[in-house]
Point group: C2
Chain length 676, copies 2
C-alpha cells in the first residue's frame, strides 16, 4: 500500500495531542498512568494513521488489522487515538476516564469502547491473545480465503509483559509457527514500578526473541522514520517481528521523565503545566485538539471506509462462486451454528461402558468436529491423554493451518491463545490439559469470562481417582476455584451421555467459557432405561434416581461420584431408607433454574442431604445446608492406584450409606436449633 | 576437591542398574515413566557418586548440595540413586513404587523419601524452586558464613520444564542475579507426550539462556567425560550454568527408544526383556543390584560422613567466636523464633486511622524485620504499592545478598522462589503482589501447602474497593479460590490491629503457608475501648460487637466489610434490632476451634445471618446456612473510584440493614421448612 509522505509538523502536533489527552485525562481522574501513553504516542500515531487497515465506522469489520495494547495501563493512549481516528468515543468520554459507566475504563475493556480488541491489564495477557489472533487470522486465510483474511495483528507491550512467563510461552509458540502476521512493539523505557528495570530485568530481549526465531528490529522511539522503516520490514518478513523501541517514560516532563513516579500516578498540576510549556503548549488548556489535528486524523475514516468497501467487493465477488470454506465462515461468522450441528451426537448404551468421560469426550468431540468445520483446538502436550485430537485433521504448524493445535507444555499461553482464537469471527476453540494444570492458566480464563468469550476447556484427570501420579497431579481445590469464577460454566458429567450433553451446552454457549471436567478412569454408562435421561444436564442438576417410598435422604454428586451415590442408594433402599440421587453436573445452570424446579429436585423438607464429590468441599453447603454432610477431600491426595485411593478417602457406597444413617439418627436426636 | 579417576566399567554397571531399577519399578507398578530415568541415569550417577556433596546418613545436613528433579515424572531415577547411595530407602520401597504409603510416590514428594529436596511434578516448578534454593544459599553465605554455606543447587529438567513460562521467569531472574551456585542440566531428548518436540518447540534453548546471561554448555548425554568436564566448568563460572545434554529417551529399548511411547507408560514385559538383553543383562531378573555396584556406591556414605564431619568441625570453630549472623542462624535453623520476637509489634489507636491494612502491614513487617534478621522478601515489582520494602535494608542483587528481594513482574517465579527460600534452614520468606495476581502463582502456592512450607504471601488491593484500575485488577473469585486450597491459611484483617495479629500468626506458623489479604483503601482503626480486642484473630473468628438486647441478627464479615457491618449494626440497633457483628478473618483457624466456641460466636438459634464480603460468595453458606444471605459479588467489578463502586455494588450500611430486615420479615412469614 502506498502512503502519503509523512508530514512532520502535523505528525508532531498529533502526537503531542495524544500525549496531553492522556496526561490531562489522568490528571482529571486523579488516577491512572500518564507516562507510557506519552512515550508511545509516536507509535500509536504511526500505526493508526498510516499502517493499520481499520475502519473507525465499523470496529467489527472482519478484515481489519488488530491492535492489542498489552500494556493495558496505557489505556488513555488507546482512547486518545481511537477518539482522534473517529471511533465512537467522544471527548466527554475521555474526560470521564475511569468513572463509573464510562467506556474509557481504567484498563481497556473489550465491549466497552469501540476499537478495543481485547481486555488487557494483567501483564502478558495481551501478548498471548495477540498470538491467538494471529493464529486465527492465518487459519481463516487458509481455510476460508487468503485474500479476505490477510490482516495483521499488532501489539504494544512493556517490560512487564516481557517479564511474565506467559510472554515467553506465547512468543516461543509464535516463533515456532512463524506467525508472520504478528508485529509486536516493545516499549523499552527501562522503568518499572520499583525503579529502573535493571533492578530485576537485565536479560537481552533481542537475543531471547532471536532464540524464538523472531525477526528483531531496534528503533529510537521518537524517530518516526526509523519506526516506519521497522514497521515495513516487519510486514515483509515471514517471521513474527519484535520492534524494540527505546523510549523514555513521560518524555518532556521536566522532573518526571525517566522516573518511576511517572508510571502510575498523575503528573500533578505543576509538572503537567511545565511539560506543556516545554512542548510549547498553553499550560492552561486541557483536552485540547486543534482543528488541524482533527482534520489530519479524519483521514483514518476516509481510508477505512475505502478499505472496507474494497474488502466487501472482494467478498461479493467470492460469494458468486463460494468455496466450501467461505460458506462455512459466512454461516458462522456471527456465532450461529450450522443447522443440524448436534443432530448426530453419539448416544451411548450401558454396554458401551466402562468408558472414561475423557474417552466419551473424544468421541463426541470428533462427531462435533465433523459438523463444525471451524471448530479447532488442541492440548498442552497431552492430546493422547485428554483425547482431544481431531482424527484425520491436519496439525496447525509452521507450514499449514490445520485444526489440531499443539500448544506444547504451555497451559498459560494456551489459555491466552484460546482467547485470541475466540475473538476471531466464526471460530470455536477448545484447549485441553489435566484439571490440575488449570492452575497454570487461570488469568486468561478469567479474561475470557469477563469478556464473554466462549472457549471450551477440556480438563481431564479430574480427581484423586487418576491414581498413581499422586497429589501433585490430583486436583482438590480446582473445582471450587473454577466455580467461584463468574460467568464460567463448570460441567462435570457423570457418564458418556452426560458428557455428550455437556459438549452440546459448551458449543451452544457463545457468550461465556465452559470448562468440561472429565474422568481419567472408566465409568459405567448409566442405563437410560433405569435412570433419568442425560438431557437433565441442560438444567444443571436433575433427579437421576427417584426414591422408593417417602423421601428420607438426598444424595447429591457430580461426575464419577454419581456412581458411588447410586450404589449407596441401593444399599440404603435395601435397608428401607428412601433415597434420591441428584446429579448436579453444572451448578451455574442449576442456580439459573426457577426456584420451583430447584425445590422439586431438592425438596426443602428433606434435610438429610449428603454431597459426594472427590474435591474440596467448599461451597457444597449451598445445596446441602449446614445440617447436611459433604463427603469431600479435606487435604491432598496420595500416590496409589485410583481404586485404592477412593476407598482410602471414603468414596465408597458403604461409607456414604453409613454417613446417611448417622445423619438420620442424629437428626432424630437433636432439636431443629442444632445449626452451628 | 580431587576425585578418583572414573572407573568406566563400574560406572556403566551402576548406570545400567539405575536404568533397570526404574524400568522394573514402573513395570511392576504398571504405571509410571521409564524413559527419562533410563536416559538420565549417567547424569544421576555422576552427580551423586562424584559431584554432589551429600551425606546419605543425614539428608538434612544444612551444608549439603541440593539436587532438584524438576522433571518429577522421572522419580524412579531419584529413588534408584538414593537407594544405591545409601539413603534410608529400601529395595522394597522401590518395589512399592506408586503404592499407598510408599515413600516412593509417583512424583518425588518432600518429606516422604529421604533425599527428596522438594516436591516436583508440575513442570517448571522444580526449576523455580532451585532458583530460590540458590538464592537462599547465597543469602546464608553472605549473612551467616561463606564457608559454611557454599553449597550448590543442581536441577535436572526436561523440555516440558523449559516450555513452561515459569522457567523463563526463574531463569531470567537467576541470570540477572548471577547465581553461580546453580547448575541446571537439560535432558534434551526431543520427545514429548504428543510426539517429537519439534511439534511445538523449536526455539534455540542455548541462545535463550545466553540472553539471560547464563553459561551454556552442551554435552552428549551418554558421554561421561564430557558431562564431567561440563560439570566442572559449571562449578567454576560465576554465572548460573545450563548443561544441555543430548539424550535419547529409553536408550537401548529396541522399539521404544526415541519414542513418545517410552515417556509415560511401562515398557511392557517383552520390550523390557529385550532391552535387558541388549544391555547384556539377564532378561529374567528384576530389581537386580550387584554387590560391586552396591560397594561402589557405598562410597557416597563414606565420603558424605567425612564431608559433614569437616563441616561440623568448621561450625564448631566458628562457634567459638560467633558472628551475629551465625548466632541468628543457630537460633532459627530449626524454625524456632528468637525470644521476644513479637513483643514489640505495633499497636494502633483509633487516632491512627484511617489506615489501609496494606499500610499497617508495612509498619508491622518492618517492626518484625528488626527482630527477625533472617526474614527476607519482596514483591513482584509492586513494593511501593504493597508496602513490603524493609527500610534501611539492602537489596538482593547481583553483587550483594540483602533482605529486599526484587522479583520483577514475575509472580509465578516469586511463588516458586519463596518455596526455595522456605526450604533453606532458618529463613522466613515473604512475597507480595496484588491479590488479583495470586492467579499467576497458584501452582507454587499449592506445592507450599502440600509440603508444609511456610512462606507468607502479602496480597494487597483486595477487592473492588481498589477502584479505578477496574475489573481486570479487582479480585472477586480469589478469596474462595484460596480458601479452597488445603493447608493454606487465608487471613483478611479488618484493621491495623487485626493486621498485626495476622502477621503474628503468619510468622508463628511454620508448617504451612499463610496469605494476608489486605486493603488498598484506608480503613478506621477499631477502637479497642469499644470493640473486642484484635487478638480474636487467633481464633479465626470472634464477636467484635455484641448485640444489645436479645440476639436477632448476626452480621459476619471480613476485612474492610467489617466496618460496613459495624455501621449497619448501628442502624439496626437504633431500630431495635439486636445485632451482633462477627469478624471472621481466617476461616481455617475458626474451623479448627472447638464446636462450643463456634456455637458461642455463632449461636445456632440465630438464623438471621448476613455475610458481607466484597468477593464471590462461594462457601459462605457454611457460616450463614441456606437461610442466611450473602452480600457479595455475583459478577466482575468496574472501573470507578472505590467508594462509588462500594455503593454501586451494595456494600453500604443501609443496604445491609435493609437485607437484614427483609430477612427477619421473611423468616416470620415462612415455615421452618423453607430451605431450598
Amino acid at each position: 500500500m502506498t502512503r502519503e509522505p509523512l508530514d512532520a509538523v502535523l505528525a508532531r502536533s498529533t502526537i503531542d495531542t495524544l500525549r496531553f489527552l492522556a496526561a490531562d485525562a489522568v490528571e482529571r481522574a486523579r488516577s491512572g498512568h500518564p507516562g507510557t501513553p506519552m512515550e508511545a504516542a509516536p507509535l500509536a500515531y504511526l500505526l493508526y494513521r498510516r499502517h493499520l487497515r481499520h475502519n473507525p465506522a465499523d470496529p467489527a469489520w472482519p478484515g481489519r488489522d488488530r491492535l492489542v495494547l498489552s500494556c493495558g495501563h496505557a489505556s488513555m493512549l488507546l482512547y486518545g487515538v481511537l477518539h482522534l481516528a473517529g471511533y465512537a468515543l467522544s471527548l466527554d468520554d475521555l474526560k470521564n476516564f475511569r468513572q463509573l459507566h464510562s467506556p474509557a475504563a481504567g484498563h481497556p475493556e473489550f465491549g466497552h469502547a469501540p476499537g478495543v480488541e481485547t481486555t488487557t491489564g494483567p501483564l502478558g495477557q495481551g501478548l498471548g491473545v495477540s498470538v491467538g489472533m494471529a493464529m486465527g487470522g492465518r487459519f481463516l486465510a487458509e481455510q476460508v480465503s487468503a485474500e479476505l483474511f490477510n490482516y495483521r495483528v499488532y501489539a504494544l507491550c512493556s517490560d512487564g509483559d516481557l517479564m511474565e512467563g506467559l510472554s515467553s510461552e506465547a512468543a516461543s509458540l509464535a516463533g515456532h509457527l512463524h506467525l508472520g502476521n504478528l508485529i509486536v512493539v516493545y516499549l523499552d523505557n527501562r522503568i518499572t514500578i520499583e525503579g529502573e528495570t535493571s533492578l530485576a530485568f537485565s536479560e537481552q530481549v533481542a537475543t531471547r526473541f532471536l532464540a524464538y526465531d523472531w525477526q528483531v528490529l531496534q528503533v529510537e522511539g521518537e524517530n518516526l522514520t526509523e519506526i516506519e522503516m521497522a514497521l515495513n520490514a516487519a510486514k515483509a518478513d515471514p517471521r513474527p517481528s519484535l520492534i524494540i523501541a527505546r523510549t523514555h517514560i513521560a518524555p518532556g516532563a521536566p522532573t518526571k521523565q525517566d522516573s518511576a513516579e511517572a508510571h502510575g500516578a498523575p503528573l500533578g498540576a505543576e509538572e503537567l503545566a511545565a511539560t506543556k510549556s516545554a512542548y510549547g503548549w498553553d499550560p492552561h488548556q486541557s483536552f485540547l485538539v486543534s482543528e488541524e489535528v482533527r482534520a489530519h486524523m479524519g483521514a483514518c475514516r476516509t481510508r477505512g471506509r475505502h478499505l472496507q468497501q474494497q474488502w466487501q467487493e472482494l467478498l461479493r465477488d467470492l460469494e458468486k462462486n463460494p468455496s466450501a470454506g467461505l460458506l462455512n465462515w459466512l454461516r458462522s461468522r456471527d456465532g450461529a451454528l450450522p443447522e443440524g450441528w448436534d443432530l448426530h451426537l453419539p448416544a451411548f448404551g450401558a454396554a458401551d461402558g466402562p468408558l472414561a468421560t475423557r474417552q466419551a469426550s473424544g468421541i463426541v468431540l470428533n462427531a462435533l468436529a465433523a459438523r463444525l468445520p471451524l471448530l479447532l483446538g488442541g492440548s498442552a502436550d497431552l492430546a493422547p491423554s485428554t483425547n482431544t485430537s481431531l482424527k484425520g485433521e491436519r496439525s496447525f504448524s509452521r507450514t499449514g493451518s490445520g485444526r489440531n493445535l499443539h500448544f506444547g507444555v504451555r497451559e498459560h499461553a494456551m489459555g491466552a491463545v484460546l482467547n485470541g482464537l475466540s475473538h476471531t469471527p466464526g471460530l470455536i476453540a477448545y484447549g485441553a490439559t489435566f484439571l490440575i494444570f488449570s492452575d497454570y492458566m487461570r488469568p486468561p480464563m478469567r479474561l475470557a469470562a469477563m469478556m464473554g468469550l466462549a472457549p471450551i476447556y477440556v480438563f481431564t484427570h479430574d480427581s484423586i481417582a487418576l491414581g498413581e501420579d499422586g497429589p501433585t497431579h490430583q486436583p482438590v481445590e480446582q473445582l471450587p476455584g473454577l466455580r467461584a469464577l463468574p460467568n464460567l460454566h463448570v460441567i462435570r458429567p457423570a457418564d458418556a451421555n452426560e458428557t455428550a450433553e455437556a459438549w452440546r451446552l459448551a458449543v451452544e454457549r457463545r457468550n461465556g467459557p465452559t470448562a468440561l471436567v472429565l474422568s481419567r478412569q472408566g465409568l459405567p454408562v448409566l442405563d437410560p432405561d433405569r435412570y433419568a435421561p442425560a438431557d437433565g444436564v441442560r438444567r444443571g442438576g436433575y433427579v437421576l434416581a427417584e426414591e422408593e417410598g417417602d423421601l428420607q435422604a438426598l444424595l447429591l454428586a457430580t461426575g464419577a461420584e454419581v456412581h458411588v451415590a447410586l450404589a449407596a442408594r441401593e444399599l440404603l433402599q435395601a435397608e428401607g431408607v428412601a433415597t434420591r440421587v441428584v446429579s448436579l453436573p453444572c451448578w451455574e445452570k442449576f442456580a439459573e433454574q426457577a426456584e420451583s424446579y430447584r425445590r422439586q429436585v431438592l425438596p426443602p423438607s428433606c434435610r438429610a442431604r449428603v454431597a459426594i464429590e472427590a474435591a474440596s468441599p467448599l461451597g457444597w453447603e449451598r445445596w446441602v445446608g449446614t445440617e447436611g454432610e459433604v463427603i469431600g477431600m479435606r487435604g491432598f491426595g496420595a500416590s496409589a492406584p485410583g481404586a485404592v485411593l477412593l476407598e482410602h478417602f471414603g468414596f465408597t457406597p458403604e461409607a456414604v450409606g453409613k454417613r446417611v444413617k448417622e445423619l438420620l439418627a442424629r437428626s432424630k436426636d437433636v432439636n431443629p436449633d442444632a445449626q452451628s
